[in-house]
Symmetry: D2
Subunit: 373 residues, 4 copies
Amino acid sequence: MKRKIRMGMVGGGPGAFIGDVHRMAARLDGMIELVCGAFSSHPDKNRAAGNSLFLPESRCYDTFEEMFEKEKSLPEGERMDFVSITTPNHLHAPIALKALQNGFHVVCEKPMTLTVEEAEALAAEVERSGLLFCLTHNYTAYPMIRTAGQMIRAGELGSIRRIMVEYPQGWLADAVTPDNIQGSWRTNPVTSGVSCCMGDIGSHSENLAEFITGLKISELCANIKSFVPGRLLDDDGDVLLKFDNGAIGSLSASQIAVGEENALKIRVYGTKAAIEWNQQTPESLVIKYNDRPMQIMRRNWAGAGGRWSRLPAGHPEGFIEAFGNLYRDMALAIDARMQGVEYKTEFPTVHDGLRGVRFIHAVVASKGQWIKL
Amino acid sequence: MKRKIRMGMVGGGPGAFIGDVHRMAARLDGMIELVCGAFSSHPDKNRAAGNSLFLPESRCYDTFEEMFEKEKSLPEGERMDFVSITTPNHLHAPIALKALQNGFHVVCEKPMTLTVEEAEALAAEVERSGLLFCLTHNYTAYPMIRTAGQMIRAGELGSIRRIMVEYPQGWLADAVTPDNIQGSWRTNPVTSGVSCCMGDIGSHSENLAEFITGLKISELCANIKSFVPGRLLDDDGDVLLKFDNGAIGSLSASQIAVGEENALKIRVYGTKAAIEWNQQTPESLVIKYNDRPMQIMRRNWAGAGGRWSRLPAGHPEGFIEAFGNLYRDMALAIDARMQGVEYKTEFPTVHDGLRGVRFIHAVVASKGQWIKL
Amino acid sequence: MKRKIRMGMVGGGPGAFIGDVHRMAARLDGMIELVCGAFSSHPDKNRAAGNSLFLPESRCYDTFEEMFEKEKSLPEGERMDFVSITTPNHLHAPIALKALQNGFHVVCEKPMTLTVEEAEALAAEVERSGLLFCLTHNYTAYPMIRTAGQMIRAGELGSIRRIMVEYPQGWLADAVTPDNIQGSWRTNPVTSGVSCCMGDIGSHSENLAEFITGLKISELCANIKSFVPGRLLDDDGDVLLKFDNGAIGSLSASQIAVGEENALKIRVYGTKAAIEWNQQTPESLVIKYNDRPMQIMRRNWAGAGGRWSRLPAGHPEGFIEAFGNLYRDMALAIDARMQGVEYKTEFPTVHDGLRGVRFIHAVVASKGQWIKL
Amino acid sequence: MKRKIRMGMVGGGPGAFIGDVHRMAARLDGMIELVCGAFSSHPDKNRAAGNSLFLPESRCYDTFEEMFEKEKSLPEGERMDFVSITTPNHLHAPIALKALQNGFHVVCEKPMTLTVEEAEALAAEVERSGLLFCLTHNYTAYPMIRTAGQMIRAGELGSIRRIMVEYPQGWLADAVTPDNIQGSWRTNPVTSGVSCCMGDIGSHSENLAEFITGLKISELCANIKSFVPGRLLDDDGDVLLKFDNGAIGSLSASQIAVGEENALKIRVYGTKAAIEWNQQTPESLVIKYNDRPMQIMRRNWAGAGGRWSRLPAGHPEGFIEAFGNLYRDMALAIDARMQGVEYKTEFPTVHDGLRGVRFIHAVVASKGQWIKL
């Protein structure tokens, strides 16, 4: 690389969760430098965030519009190269659109937009602009998930028949108090969109199932529910799935599954072998056979996951390192563009984002009936 | 106990699987003695079975009708006290009915009957006769399942919201060859009934979910499929569930889940706590909380499961011991009747069997639509 | 088999633990019938045991001497074929010697005797009499241990370099109250011998290490300790090991390891591969490689452990089933003798017992110095 | 914090492993900036490293002496605040001494020095200078280890009786080829010191055992061995331990344990409870009791480990994050000094380093006999 890639950030002010994760992930490999931000719509919080991140006041902007405007006017190599959008859901679309229109590459949180129309418009803008757009479906970037995807696409499981994906959490089992910032905006239709549980973690599950298998969900039938009294959006649900190759399966997501942390788990069964992976033990990929002992593939052992690893096997990597793979990919892609060389990105794209928004809307529209996706 | 309880058996001849399990389970506690049998419709196999079990030829009967007839004429204390029915599904109903009509208590394999009508008739006959009827939904007899059931009914989980049960197997992933006796009759509608996968292991899942929670499935929506070419019955499927208290959840069962053994697993989430249990690690019951560390309750440790245990914690008990709990329960119940004392059985009954048959038929009838149970 | 094999039992009266296990194990396969016993030195308890086991009073003997005397005079096919000795340690030697002298095969609990001299005398008597002698180091009879032993002896691990075996328990962490029958005799030098912890479970560890590898401990250095005030025998300790092929390793055993059940675990590292097995998850055998993913071999899956199995993979077998393998082996061996055919036993022998007693005495004599075994 | 803390690095050039880890750990929280380095004694490699890290050529020094000299002359806020030493073992002492003499705080890899004399000299220089010295026994910085240490020191385990620590690796099971840079210097007495296995990972085990319990090893008896032909240093061994409070236990370390990654595991048994932790599953801390179910404490769940966490429970943190806790601690400590406020560091110190070197030398000197530490 010629130089560090320069990042701006929208969102991620005090009290946010995912903004910090993005920053740690961006720092990890020393390829990216945070140069500016519009961290909060509260000017005080925005300045506080900028200070704690050692940014000069001049590059701590009151609004994303101002940021894009002013950064655009800075010389290349000084201005930001890309923006990272870590706001609540309803702001993803306007910010991302504006960023692209101003010539900035985008890293954007999921779900990509509130509506299918917004998602389509964003996809069109990415196409038009030719800029890079990375949607942070970060689970796809775990080394053993990448290895699993390679195995499946190479036919090592045979023809896929059954896919089971689940994402149980327990953190919204009770009514949300106002100081729970994360819970408050996620359970609010204005900021979260038509769905809470399926939008937040159901969409991760859908994305992972399609990413790892290369298949598409063709039809679904969903039973979603809001358990906590007064809650306006779903906090729990199950979905029957049909895939475009004839495989079937299920997707379950819950935010009221008491005692569960972030137990995203996926199982894929083919005619020859099966795989199982759990986000809480991400360093292992279980391969099962009918005619042989099961194997536990481990990151950076016997070649597995090595290309996406940073450490020897047995020294645990985790969430930040996986997230960091998205940022590294983005940094390398921007660098390649600057140097005019070919580079094939591996991060989820605007098309994954569009698909995710369609999935969320189909789940909500299903009301217990089958619906095509 | 005054004397050993005397058992006859129908089915369980050479090549059978579950007959052997019943015999080991019946022997385990030294309370039950096998005194007669009609093990196979092939006279040679029947004699061979009788010989290997050290039975006199005179009590190795060609047919179950003959067995019931002749045993009935023997004096009490010599004749069999109960019959254990371990044949393919289609024979359960006629044998059980005949046994009850001849005054014998019954232990019967599941699914109880092929049709709902048969199941209702059998339930009526049990009521009429006042005899004991134990359906071998053996998973309900694992010590930690019994403990889980007690906890849930005592309110330790709060109000139940989500139930997830699954039973993946891989043994029928390919077409069945004729020498696969178990596979052959299970995939044949004549001997197996309207369903293979949901009848064989879906019904175990349904039963376990209702047993452990005390709730009833009120409505379901099923997506079942037959993956292996030429197979006439389902070998895979998922079911959306609604329970009578408002809880929701899912049930998945598969016989084409390559690499899976008998991974029956149940999770129940309440407002206060959750439990998780897996048949392949049956000695542990995981209890999860939002506000406390999770606990691993272990059989015969700190009181858990102790009443249904035979060994100290850490000396593994398993499938046979759980199955043996059903037989011990039956033996103690018969002994109590002989002695004229009260005894409260804990084994699954003809009503569980009727419910299971209704479940199987509802799943098959659903065809992707919601159906009341 | 021609007929059931007939078993007598010494020990195993009310309050005993291991006697019940022996009886369940002996019953499991329907090959063995309990025909007589001297269960307790208390006549009342003895009768009570006999009654609960449905034995006639005439075959419930006051002493083992009487039992051997009277049984010897019964006709073959009526008299007992072998005796099972499940008393506290100090009685093993006199009972076993007397049984052999009276022509009965023997199944005997471990440690085999209190002293090396007794052990040598017993070994000589077994040689002289030509009778069968099975020492119940039951852990050697787990299917996956048998499979591990085969693999190691077939060279699949390469040359063995490191062996780690441990057996932590917590049940004697506090002073023993008189109603704790198991704890009372085990902590009493009169009934237990020179060691408690190393005698009871250290000897299982030593036996398993030598059984599974075929190697012999050539030298050891032990650090044992009695933690509970007033306790006369060791309740905890570690031993450095050297094996006859140059391998090294360690053995740890504890009865004060609070929270531990019966976590016997063995790991063997060779030049090519390693194995790991834990008694509390006995259905799995982990195989590790430097150049390949680790494998989890499972009982009755892809051939592993199948010969010593009773159930399909995933239907858990456990402690009783493993113990039952010793009894089945004994029954088949006695039957083979009756029929005059060859039969190769797989159970631990009097020589394993002698070696175990030598190990216990070496550990106690070591006092932190190296001692040859 | 007023400004980012400025780091220089010695070692960590191309082909090194741990240098990269230090840099990722230092970057993670955005508090530390790498400003200079002497990464390799090969000038070309040194420049290459500097370039890839985006350092100006002027601050990429040929030698550590030059680095200290030149940096010292820069103004505060521009010059480095501390140096991170990630060279092979033999260089730790001279570099660290020189750094301290030039007024720089030090982060230093372990084992701290080759000899006890060097270690004592370094400890004296730290005392004399009053500068900060952090030894990267990084395992002590895992959140659940910190929680375990708090629990033990608060008496929640009661009085400690047994400590078992082990660190098996398999990566040196075969002879090292020259391109294996890590293996080459570690097996070379000139660069590694008197021990390979016990120096590299035995010392981590010793440190963790003492850190977590607050106890000191008072006496040890070691059996170490070099298995690979031609290897000059130990690659495997076991150590019997006595602690200053009367507890006993064992320490095993191996680099020839085929199939093992970095399976550092510690168990501590007290009179009331026990803990178990494994580096490969670092997010869980198992607490065991005799009279209650075991608990699995999880990072950032119900308060455990939260203070040292960056992510919600269930989003795995790992090795880099733990390492990052040492760097964050150092950064906060330097900042506190700059601001003149009190700050209590939690990182391992020069005294831990001295103790580690003494441990290594005692193990090597033991030759199977007890030796005081």
